[in-house]
Symmetry: C2
Subunit: 461 residues, 2 copies
Amino acid sequence: MISQTAVTALSEKLGRKNVLSEKEDLLTLGYDATPGLSALPDIAVYPTRLEELLFALQVARDEGLAVVPRGSGTGLSGGSVPHKGGMVLCLGRMNRILEIDEANLTATVEPGVITLDLFDAVMAKGLFYPPDPGSQKVSTLGGNVMENAGGLRGLKYGVTRDYVMALQCVLPDGSVIDTGGKNVKDVAGYAFKDLLVGSEGTLGVISQITVRLIPPPRSKKTLLAYFDTMPKAGEAVTRIIAARIIPSTLEIMDRTTMICVEEHAGIGLPLEMAALLLIEVDGHPAAVEEEATAVRTVLQQAGAAEIKLAADADEAASLAAARRTALSALARKSPTTILEDATVPRSKLADTFAEIERLAEKYRLVVGTFGHAGDGNLHPTVLCDERDRGEMERTHAFYEELYEKVLAWGGTVSGEHGIGLAKKAFLARQIGPAGIAVMRRIKNSFDPRGMLNPGKIIMEE
Amino acid sequence: MISQTAVTALSEKLGRKNVLSEKEDLLTLGYDATPGLSALPDIAVYPTRLEELLFALQVARDEGLAVVPRGSGTGLSGGSVPHKGGMVLCLGRMNRILEIDEANLTATVEPGVITLDLFDAVMAKGLFYPPDPGSQKVSTLGGNVMENAGGLRGLKYGVTRDYVMALQCVLPDGSVIDTGGKNVKDVAGYAFKDLLVGSEGTLGVISQITVRLIPPPRSKKTLLAYFDTMPKAGEAVTRIIAARIIPSTLEIMDRTTMICVEEHAGIGLPLEMAALLLIEVDGHPAAVEEEATAVRTVLQQAGAAEIKLAADADEAASLAAARRTALSALARKSPTTILEDATVPRSKLADTFAEIERLAEKYRLVVGTFGHAGDGNLHPTVLCDERDRGEMERTHAFYEELYEKVLAWGGTVSGEHGIGLAKKAFLARQIGPAGIAVMRRIKNSFDPRGMLNPGKIIMEE
């Protein structure tokens, strides 16, 4: 519980419209995009500048409140769910693009800037910010950094981590550290910046971000390939990489996903097929031309039933957009959608498809699988109904058994969605007691009082 | 001091040839490539497998010895100097390439593998490991990871950090953690792996490394440009990047360095010139052709006095090799060579050249400057004599004043050489008390007894 004095002080400092304390306002800040998780915070604040952020943290310290930082709430592991109540620290109103530095190829932003807004702003200057998480139209850079968000272009261009050059971070004790800079190389001291990326709001609150930009690719081509079995599609992925081609995008959808996307987007997908690969190659026009031809040959050899080349940029964009709707298309089909984030070394992709199929049958579940095949990063999605207890139990058994295999194959329980509340038990299995012990010590070293996003990522003792 | 019992136990377990305890043997393990720093350890051990490494650490714990991990001792900041005595843990005999995985594009090695050996081994399979520190013929991967080594290809391809996918790490308490994997994306838990990279042997001992490989560029072209003033060369660098060209290599040498390299390598450098840029563009042949032409145009516009295109791969290789001799060529000229590692945002490059020139004059010093201009990473090198106390004082004053500017411009005190013993005071100035406090807490969380490489990186209280 927060005292009335504290609420008043926050309203005075931040302005009344930037402080929410009524239950009906707070309800919408109790969940993110993870199904089945919600909670009611005691208060929500929207600082608009660093000074206000520091003040809010000071109040939280004085009142002994848990603090849960929040961007747009698009997270898929419960990372911004205030399950212990306390203060939701909404960073969406710290949303200025502070600088685009064309000489150093960097952009500096506040954490609440929308991912796609940054992309558009730098593109207007002939520069390119590659990370493109599925939620890029609403997600914030702060959230992207805290979750180390991936996206469709990860295979060739890497993920958010690969673009973060500097962070300004407020520690739970109120000290502000600046880590990294605009230097292309920097080995001065421990890599805080790299530790903060992906720390899911448990070590500090990011108040400023500097990212690296690159020249955009001059050309790209988009191909679609349909397969009559999933293993053939998996084999095609393996062969593309074996041919030493790194596409910018190499996405997969199974039939269940295709059916939902088709209902949603109506782009004429052939629903008798078992799988679709969406492949984008980009770069110098001559390289793109050759790679597209090479990819087509590999796809034929791998037994693709049909291969289409997008006629123009519009068609390519509509295909990519259709892929981006996969999750929402699946979500429309059933009351509950449990989306997972299993990731395996690429060589285990075909085995993983087979295992998902086997387990879906074993547990009598409808599973739609889509994801970043080139990264080995799959999103098997169970279409279910949380009111059906038996089905939910089977869903959990499905994931238990799947993750056991994924871990045995050297995979990871999360490729890009994070651990949050949803996957703490799986993480403990993956990194073992020694790993959890180090995490706990690191957490304590940043946040000895356990104020920041408590109970997230690390299993409680 | 180590007990005789412990020496005997180590000899029995590791074999006599893998344990050194005689002063004359230990002398050579008391320094690295940093001038002016040396010390005598109590014992040196060469484990050949993980079990022996764990045993050696156990003995060190029991005997209360400091442990200083060491690769080939090519470090340039004193990171492997055993200035508190204790045990030097030489990892050079754990030097097997364990696997090159062509399906997942990874290589897994022991820490003692020589950088160039890995490069050659993967190139034989048509793959590419880009990081190429100056010392790649002798340096080890373990050392590269611990120092986050850079190299000549950093501008386009990044540094060691960008290629480390997984580490096996032995913590000071003897627990072994595996962090990362062959997954292209992995957000499971805190990024230990990224924290360990560049931690200079102060948090754990790396016992196994998995790196990412990429397809090699199909073509490259090498250009040389001479300038009659340093500012013109700096301007050329700025203009190349402004033209949205990212060369794989963009190196600079000033006249002092050119003179020394010419004496050493005799490749016909025009010594009346003030600066040389060595530029390599690589990738698809058509892209390389266009970029080489565009670079040539930019160089002309920036006022290059002469531009040469390497006639063939051999000529290109000899130019790159000549650049790699810069440090040893300078080192032959004077009894002492103090090499620095100042790095600035690229836009401050020309200012930094001017400042180096001004300060060299002010302090009456001979300074040769070379480095990775495209990265803003310069190695101003004072040619001096450590027996001349006045000159050494002026050298230190030179660096003091230079780093003050570098930091004011948002630069860093180390781009690629690390902090070690040599730069602790500068680091404290760069990251401030809050930064140092966090470092100390992280160090304690990994190594509460301060056994591993004590007194390095962080200023003692």
